[in-house]
Symmetry: C2
Subunit: 227 residues, 2 copies
DNA sequence: AATGTAATGTGAAAAGCTTCACAATTGAAT
DNA sequence: ATTCAATTGTGAAGCTTTTCACATTACATT
């Protein structure tokens, strides 16, 4: 047993948390939000697992990387665990996000209230189309892409959502990196080159449809593919 | 059963193909399309890997699950390999897709020409909003959600893209399943329950933003960029 | 024909991730 | 106070995926 006073969360130094674990934390967070609304005070790994189609062992293992949040015999305190996960994921704060490319998908994302509710506030929009620059989208005036660097800095932007055509995505991402942004969510179906210290995630919808196509054609089972 | 002579593709019975391998096939396909446009006739696993930030061994291993498509000393024939992958993924044909929920994100997806170019043709739209039913989106008249089952069948729809509010997603998905659809791409941030024989994929954008948030806050060293 | 070079295809090793299984702990019931 | 039931936290086992390394093959050059 530990003799010192344990402040629930563990130090992560030296530990490598897998991408899958991080993604599952998002699922736990979502499930806990719902459980909280439904009035649950505690939840077992078994119930939490069932809610997101995972296994109880997986839930416990994932959480154990970050601390001991549960009570043996009882389960996890819903509200507290939710807060803990928010801290781990870094969503216990507001992130100032800019979006570049106010086209079809960009407009849809700006209108999406759930992002702001999760702490991701889109506060800046950029485009290169003169008809769009200066126009108002959900209370935000679209800025000229030529002012990207200065306005990103002025507004303390920390993340950028990129929804420009694939043909210009690499050029724009280079500008975003030059401006000092460290995290980018890209929707263009192209493999962007960024320095090692930039966090880049890609949203690839065609890939998901192609997965479905493969599944049907090869008569494959959801988790483990059997041909 | 089959007494066919062996064609270039391997017999895959009993072999398990990982989800990652399938996803990487999509990336190879994308890279090959580009290489073809650029005029390349052959490509080595080394070059193909560099194009999508993977390793040459991974490329060769992935492809080897499905056959021997390359020539030692030379590499892979670009156009042929592209066709082979199209067959494997089942995108050497047109898929008839319906979209349910013509809101912000649904409208963006309907306008997205790249899907059709990849063989995913959105040919049917459904909504429950009287102001939307009967209206024209990119040449498609929005149908009443109440006619879902009959119209999906009449139109030989094989996949559904679901872009309705999270609160009604489970109800709608039940109807879609009842109508005999086997593949669904869901955008609502909710864990949908479907029978084992239904292929369901989820597009979760909040999860990607939360990953970025985690990465920044924890100064997370990423092994690889998420596909 | 022989040699050199490039690059595949693939078993085997290494690394990574998930599941197992159980001691430990808590709260409730007797 | 003791027993019982529930459930966590975790090392170890089991499984999957990735990487390694090299024999093999094809073509070009001499
Ligand atoms: N629409 C979808 O459903 C969908 C789905 C998946 C992926 N995508 C991808 O998302 C991206 C955007 O798609 P879309 O359908 O919204 O396209 P779109 O043409 O509607 O929007 C692109 C926007 O980017 C702006 N833009 C172009 N060049 C720019 C530049 N140099 N600087 C700043 N802004 C610039 C345009 O003015 C336009 O507003 C594309 O890469 C597309 O492949 C779209
Ligand atoms: N907008 C985004 O950028 C975004 C991003 C990620 C996820 N999502 C998710 O996608 C879904 C749609 O988001 P949105 O922003 O487009 O919302 P939206 O409200 O603009 O669109 C939803 C559409 O579904 C229709 N609808 C509602 N109930 C229906 C029913 N019973 N049958 C048929 N149609 C019905 C509505 O009439 C509307 O047209 C939501 O689940 C949302 O969480 C949206």
């Amino acid at each position: 047993m530990s003799t010192d006073i344990d402040t629930s969360s563990k130090s992560l130094s030296g530990k490598r948390i897998s991408e899958s674990t991080i993604n599952r934390l998002s699922l736990y967070y979502r499930a806990l939000s719902l459980l909280e609304k439904e009035g649950y005070e505690t939840v077992s790994s078994k119930v939490l697992a069932r809610r997101e189609k995972l296994t109880p062992a997986q839930v416990r293992k994932d959480l154990s990387f970050f601390g001991s949040f549960g009570t043996r015999g009882l389960g996890y305190p819903v509200a507290d665990l939710k807060k803990e996960i928010a801290v781990i994921l870094g969503i216990d704060r507001v992130w100032r996000v800019a979006l570049v490319g106010i086209g079809n998908i960009g407009s849809a994302l700006v209108s999406y209230k759930e992002f702001a509710r999760q702490g991701f506030q889109i506060v800046k929009l950029f485009d290169n189309d003169q008809r769009k620059i200066g126009s108002n989208h959900k209370g935000i005036i679209v800025s000229d892409i030529n002012n990207l660097a200065t306005e990103l800095a002025e507004d303390n932007i920390e993340m950028v959502v990129l929804t420009v055509p694939a043909t210009v995505a690499q050029y724009i991402v280079d500008e975003i990196v030059k401006a000092g942004i460290k995290a980018i969510l890209n929707f263009a179906p192209v493999n962007l080159k960024v320095p090692d210290d930039i966090y880049l995630r890609n949203e690839n919808m065609s890939m998901e449809l192609e997965y479905l196509s493969f599944a049907i054609v090869n008569n494959h089972t959801q988790k483990k593919v059997k041909l």
